[in-house]
Amino acid sequence: TGTGPRRRFHAAGFLQRRLSGGERREVQREILAVLGLPGRPRPRTPAASRAPAAAAPLFMLELYRAVAGEEEEEEEVSRPVLTGFSTQSPQPGSAVSRADTVVSLVNMVEQDRDIFSPRPYWKEFRFDLTQVPAGESVTAAEFRIYKARGVTRHPNNTLHVSIYEIAAEHSNRESDLFLLDVQDLRAGTEGWLVFDVTAASNHWLVDRKYNLGLRLYVETDDGHSIDPGSAGLLGRRGPRSKQPFMVTFFRASPSPARVSR
């Protein structure tokens, strides 16, 4: 009901009232509450260096487009869960359709036992799940890592890539590991590898002390350990658009209790 400079004609032809500073903050607070956020997120790195090239935002943007397309069409298509060797572009699958929230997690720590260390070789990754939404349960979780051609002389040889959850670490002996997923592929293959790590993310959400990360091994057909870097598996030192990340799918718990505002 305002008048004068506080009202303006919108392009569509109807009168639109300009919000005061207080009203704007109130609107922002309400929208943040709908999104389930306590406050406005403040990403650490500047926007310009985050968005365009990084693998996780690119993947999530593709996922957003797929979900938005589904919402447009209002189709309930049931397709297989996103697992196995795939391209970067996600397909709208049942894991995506069922999820209320999808979070891509940036790899925080990467450790290698590479060709300069005793065998077996491995690569470790760690993700921070402290910011995941409360009151939601994990329906699926994927670890995505890019495989380049590598330095193999035998591109048709089979490689076994296995991913483990680090269950416990010991100072005097090898860590306790829990096998999550295995994939067999040709040494000359190039593209994104997707591993099912749902069990690990469930453990990590139960208690943060279990979050000791993931460990990846590569072996040949005859059981020889191969340095993951030499096999072409890219880590944090790879191009930004091909760095490993984790995607977790959450479903809101059907709790009747809602936060009152």
Binding site: I31, P43, D128
Partner: protein
């Protein structure tokens, strides 16, 4: 109650309702007496105007549809009326002080998604079910 006199049934046709009678799709739907009937309106919330594009990746804004308009008897101009709304409108005619008119409210809602960065640079895709008003009607 006295039996009402028999009326001639109107001739049945296979014609679809006039598209302008479908609420929530077309603008400027008015009842015969000039009142605006229950229909869907749009209020666009621009994330750019809110200065949020440094953390919201997509969409650039949100079409906040809402339902507004009258649910007055007869409800023939509002095709999306429930049986109860028709009955309530009738009772309202008889006892306007005691019984309010039927309400103009969403009849169909759909989901919408937002893609944004959290403070750890993780990217979150959040789906909100039953968030966007697809159509309005009298309840």
């Amino acid at each position: 109650a006295a039996k009402p006199p028999r009326r001639r049934q109107p001739k049945k046709t296979n014609d679809l309702p006039h598209p302008n009678k479908l609420p929530g799709i077309f603008d400027d739907v008015h009842a015969a007496d000039g009142r605006q009937v229950c229909r869907r309106h749009e209020l666009y919330v621009s994330f750019q105007d809110l200065g949020w594009l440094d953390w919201v990746i997509a969409p650039q804004g949100y079409s906040a549809y809402y339902c507004e308009g009258e649910c007055a008897f007869p409800l023939d101009s509002c095709m999306n009326a429930t049986n109860h709304a028709i009955l309530q409108s009738l009772v309202h005619l008889m006892k306007p002080e005691a019984v309010p008119k039927a309400c103009c409210a969403p009849t169909k809602l759909s989901a919408t998604s937002v893609l944004y960065y959290d403070s750890n640079n993780n990217v979150i895709l959040k789906k909100h079910r039953n968030m966007v008003v697809k159509s309005c009607g009298c309840h």
